[in-house]
Amino acid sequence: MKLVYFAWVRERIGRSEEEVEIPAGIATVADLMRWLSGRGEEYAHAFEHAHVIRAAIDQRHAKSDASIEGAREIAFFPPMTGG
């Protein structure tokens, strides 16, 4: 699965995208954030306040309880500040 990161999530992780193999049992966006947090200090730092991190599945906003089944790309980013 392709993961993409933006703004300070990207800066904390130190990369803008990566391909990962998601283990069995990771069903939702929240599960995925928890799993990523355990991949190293930079991920733990990026997701330390997981409740403020927003996600998009295949370029659509997704809530933390959304299923990631069948997703090709998941994006993680802080609250948006455009306009």
């Binding site: 980013f77 948006m80 306009g83």
Partner: protein
């Protein structure tokens, strides 16, 4: 309806007058054209902005939100431009134009689209200021402004 809207996510500047003119040119059914231009302010010694964007998602999300606006108001045309990349104080950042038979629809749709762009389009502002670069925090007032469209007004 979505075919009425043209959406651009780009690094280049744009010409608001020409964009507005293109929207209404040759029509005799439109009575109201509203434009919003967002500009980069030099608050607190800001020397510039870096606007990060998830480009394909921004295009898709804005397209969906324009379709929502077209379902709510009788619009004859919509034009949206959102820049990303480096921006200096005084530069244009964003442009929304709405064309309708009547002014209330044009005003409300433009405000709706701007409230949406502030809170749900995938852009992130990093400010360059004397104290060093910092990511702009989302504002509660912007969430409140967007939330007023989820319940009927008046």
């Amino acid at each position: 309806m979505a075919g009425l809207a043209r959406i651009s996510v780009q690094t280049a500047d744009f010409d608001p007058g020409a964009e507005a003119e293109a929207l209404s040119a040759g029509r005799t059914d439109a009575g109201a054209l509203v434009t919003f231009t967002g500009l980069c302010r030099a608050d607190d010694g800001l020397t510039g902005l870096e606007l990060e964007c998830f480009v394909p998602m921004a295009e898709a999300e804005i397209t969906r939100q324009v379709a929502e606006a077209e379902g709510r108001w009788p619009l004859l045309g919509v034009r949206i431009i959102h820049r990303h990349g480096p921006l200096r104080p005084g530069e244009r950042i964003v442009f929304v134009a709405t064309l309708s038979s009547h002014r209330r629809a044009a005003f409300e749709a433009a405000e709706f689209l701007m409230d949406y762009l502030k809170t749900a389009a995938p852009f992130w502002k990093k400010e360059h200021a004397p104290g060093g670069p910092r990511w702009v925090a989302a504002k509660a007032e912007d969430d409140a402004a967007a939330a007023r469209w989820t319940t009927p007004r008046e």
